[in-house]
């Protein structure tokens, strides 16, 4: 069990560093989402299922949704799509 926790904690650190270093904002949000999911698993392992449910619903669900909408508003998602089309 403790090995599993260590792996999860390591993943947490890697996610945190990767989210701040990623150049693409969309990738960064996705990494943040996975961070929240791993965090909710860790909450369950720490025997606080209340926090785990909240973390999964708010951290992984609604916060990332609001980030996505904001990115769409500032045309960060659309422009990357256009770039891909140009590359093709």
């Amino acid at each position: 069990m403790s090995v599993f926790t260590d792996i999860l904690l390591l993943f947490l650190v890697v996610c945190a560093v990767a989210a701040s270093l990623s150049k693409n904002l969309l990738n960064s949000i996705l990494i943040f989402m996975s961070y929240s999911l791993v965090m909710s698993i860790i909450w369950i392992l720490l025997e606080s299922p209340d926090l785990a449910i909240t973390e999964a619903a708010v951290g992984a669900g609604i916060t990332s949704l609001l980030f996505f909408v904001t990115l769409k508003k500032i045309h960060a998602i659309v422009e990357s799509d256009r770039k891909e089309k140009k590359d093709e």
């Binding site: 209340d50 449910i53 909240t54 619903a57 708010v58 669900g61 609604i62």
Partner: protein, 321 residues
């Protein structure tokens, strides 16, 4: 003695003009003051050239970093100090963490009489099997009340910042809202959300209603319901969600939920402070209708949170219901 003035004579008098001015028929400044259009600025070409050159030089002085030694130095130092400060912060935090008591250890300041009382007498005093819910909605319900109001205030701020009122006859543009291409009718998304949305919302209701029996509670259940509503909105568009969730619904729901919370909590504060026995029975622990007011408070918090999450999303999407 009075005499009758002829009309032409009367029109020259001050009183006539005053009267007309009061009636709004005549502007006293109309023929006396006039705005002159500004004359266009003309310069000799040589002078203009000199001015432009000076401006460019000045801009270069500020913005061309390669020639600007102080700025260059500042940038280098800034980077070094950034890294140094980050390391300093990390080391400080690690030192602070190393002083924390280890997890689950006895004889530590966390294990004082407060938590002992919560654990030993929580079920007896609040009637909630889930001690966490008993704590946040009974012993510390005042904090939770403030939390709900913080959420409400956050929604109000988002409303002020992002609200976009359309004038009559004005049409949506792509810049302002992304509703222009609705309904998008994405078949995969619609089928998936048809299957997923009812279980999500049911699960949210379950989490709210069983907050005092198992893990969960108003906040998490409300967030789950809000996420389900957002998924439904994304799949089927605003036209369908407006039928059951409009701005008026949100206002009525959140204000009545907050008011209900305040009333229920002030009742228990009143009885608790005056040592009056509460009329509301605690019920048998484990039953759904037990633990006094906690169920009501959970439902109130859940309604506020669900509405708030949904409203956040709608405001971000198009700035108004």
């Amino acid at each position: 003695m009075s005499r009758k003035l002829s009309e032409e004579e009367y029109k020259k008098k001050l009183s006539y003009r005053m009267e007309q001015w009061f009636a709004g028929q005549r502007d006293p400044y109309l023929e006396h003051l006039r705005m002159k259009p500004q004359a266009e600025r003309t310069l000799e070409p040589e002078k203009e050239e000199a001015l432009r050159k000076e401006k460019k030089e000045r801009l270069d002085k500020v913005y061309r970093i390669s020639d600007n030694r102080p700025v260059k130095l500042f940038e280098k130092l800034y980077r070094i100090f950034c890294v140094a400060f980050c390391f300093f912060l990390v080391i400080m935090l690690l030192i602070a963490v190393s002083f924390l008591p280890s997890y689950g250890e006895d004889e530590k300041p966390v294990n004082n009489e407060v938590s002992r009382r919560y654990i030993e007498k929580g079920l007896q005093e609040t009637g909630a099997v889930n001690i966490v819910t008993g704590m946040i909605l009974d012993y510390r319900a005042f904090d939770t009340l403030g939390e709900s109001h913080v959420l409400f205030a956050a929604t109000c701020t988002v409303l002020i910042l992002l609200r976009h009122d359309k004038k009559k006859g004005e049409r949506d543009t792509e810049e302002e809202t992304d509703r222009v291409y609705e309904p998008k009718n994405d078949v995969i998304l619609q089928m998936v959300s048809k299957v997923l949305v009812p279980p999500i919302i049911l699960f949210g209701i379950y989490v709210i209603l069983c907050g005092h029996l198992g893990p969960g509670g108003g906040f998490s259940g409300g967030a789950v319901i809000g996420a389900g509503l957002i998924l439904y909105l994304n799949a089927f568009g605003f036209a369908k969600t407006e039928k059951f969730f409009s701005e008026k619904t949100y206002k009525v729901l959140s204000v009545s939920a907050l008011g209900c919370y305040c009333l229920a909590k002030s009742y228990s504060f009143y009885t608790g402070a005056n040592h009056i026995e509460s009329v509301i029975p605690l019920g048998t622990p484990g039953a759904i209708l037990s633990s006094g007011l906690i169920l009501v408070l959970n439902i109130c918090v859940g309604i506020v949170v669900a509405g708030t999450m949904y409203t956040f999303y709608v405001m971000f999407r198009k700035g108004g219901y």
